[in-house]
Subunit: 136 residues, 6 copies
């Protein structure tokens, strides 16, 4: 019996959408007000969803405390109250769009999980805009 | 890397569930208070979910502003503050159940998208009743 | 010790904003798309808040089941899946704006309560537009 | 056209996570404060999602009232305001983790549905911790 | 300039509504299924609202971290994953209705605050049932 | 009959909590990670609540479209996707704590309202931290 265990978390961060190798005009045309050089920010909400077999001994797929701790060390401690462009190594050369952030978070969490588990990550940039990635 | 981009939108509308070719009694038996001839209404909430590859240049699957504009012209402008039975052409002969509405919305959005994109639409009739369609 | 007990409820209804004694043009100018003659609709959410002393015997200000039953008979049974303009007597001559609806609901609930209780009613027309009335 | 119809419901219950055949110490080590012998509790939120073809006659996949009634008799009447460990037969020998509860709920609902329908159940133990099961 | 600072928190607990000095029948008549002797439970959500003058030096009324720590020690550590009737001293002789719980929480938080501050506490027993107390 | 009309809006912004006239160490001690010199950010949610008499002609206290337009020009256009410290004149010398931001927003909206109206503004910095100001 494969069940999915979901854990919700959140972090606040500043970011700016742009490519260093493009002119300001081109960045402005493509990214609009998200290209503000002084940055803007979001309360990001995150759902990490782990699918696996129920352990018949404990009744758990994964102890939610373990998943919570992975999210804390890999995502919250790394991103919360940070400037994604300036302070998070993964975005030094990678534009911090919601799509790119969710892939980075997926990879940071996935490496701590039993390979038998499937992972899907949903990232809310705002309550109206969100993205999902499951490693495909 | 295939990522899903979700955009939430909403519209308010009146509707009535019934078939013109059924008697009032039969409509009443099948659709209950939803068959009120004077109509009732909902704040419909909509999530359009577009799945595709991340464009390595921009970091976007699809610019959310493009998706927002498609939803605005195809759904909000067409349905908001309308009577679905009387004023929306798609429901002249089609009973505006949540199931039928979500299929109509799917088709209206899908035709504007790159065919490489997958689309899924979720429509909330109320916070407790909602439907999903992905073209299958 | 005066404590406030809140109970949330909801109903779906159709309505139209207009005055019978105004021209269509004037109604249109004042009420815009809310003046659609074919009606539109909402999922109304309601919070009834009753303030009174805690009964030292039961630990209740008011048994929530009593409040729930008052809301059911006075509001849900009277308004749910109805056309407010055509089917609800209170709005035969009264424009069903959120402001007028909340006053009507306040009066319908208040008459069932112990006069020592204060009442406040909040009515959500949409998650972004809502009104509050407390009898002042 | 296969559409998914979702219905949200809820129940409140007390529970304790532990195995009768383990020592208190082992239960404590594995289940932490969830092993409180005096129980703790939750407002469980439930989404039952039924996927099937739209009936071209009614425009329904399944009448939501039917789904609502199945959930009421199989889940709400059976679990609401109950102690899952002491009063719900399914958990006499089964640890009431969210994973095990969602499988039990899935089985209780599935047997009432047309076998052509797919079912998925999501169970929120808290707004941050939830699980999903679809019979695989 | 008096501003109110709100902090939201939550805890899970089991409880039972009854009076030791009443018969089971009387408790059952007054408290219904909330009188289940095996307990039931809730995810309680809490909002503590502190009103005071903005400190012109820091721009804070109260550092939210201080308020968060008071709530943690006085409410979360004391109530979370507990059986209110059996394990929380305040409810040994006091029926743990939402009204009584909110007054207890108010008193536990208030004693840590500068007396110039006003306090209001809102406690959600469920998303539909909640109570507010401000010391009046 | 005085009724309160509430309108919800939102904006995203970056900010940093600090005083220019304090050392980095003192800022760090008082404002912790909110003093990150590279900024962090939030999805701010705003509720503007206007209290006044119902106009017996229209049934409105204030046309919500008017309130929506005031919020758009005074708050959304001025703050959205901005760095509050660097780009918003009001915070050149004022620390952008939630308390100070809500007072600024109150003053920007209040000047556009009929003086007979009362105004209250609630500002969510995160879903768990929010503030309210009503001009007292």
């Amino acid at each position: 019996m494969r069940v999915t265990v979901h854990r919700r978390a959140h972090f606040n961060a500043a970011h700016r959408l742009y490519r260093k190798d493009w002119s300001f005009e081109k960045n402005d045309q493509v990214f609009g007000k998200c290209n503000n050089p002084n940055f803007h920010g979001h309360n990001y909400e995150l759902i990490a969803s782990v699918t696996g077999d129920i352990d018949p001994e404990t009744g758990y797929v994964i102890d939610v405390k373990i998943l919570k701790d992975i999210i804390k060390s890999e995502v919250e401690d790394a991103f919360d109250h940070k400037n994604l462009n300036l302070e998070v190594p993964e975005f030094q050369e990678l534009n911090p769009t919601a799509e790119n952030i969710v892939v980075v978070i997926y990879n940071k969490i996935k490496k701590h999980l039993n390979p038998d588990f499937d992972l899907e990550v949903t990232l809310y940039e705002t309550p109206r805009n969100f993205v999902t990635y499951s490693g495909e």
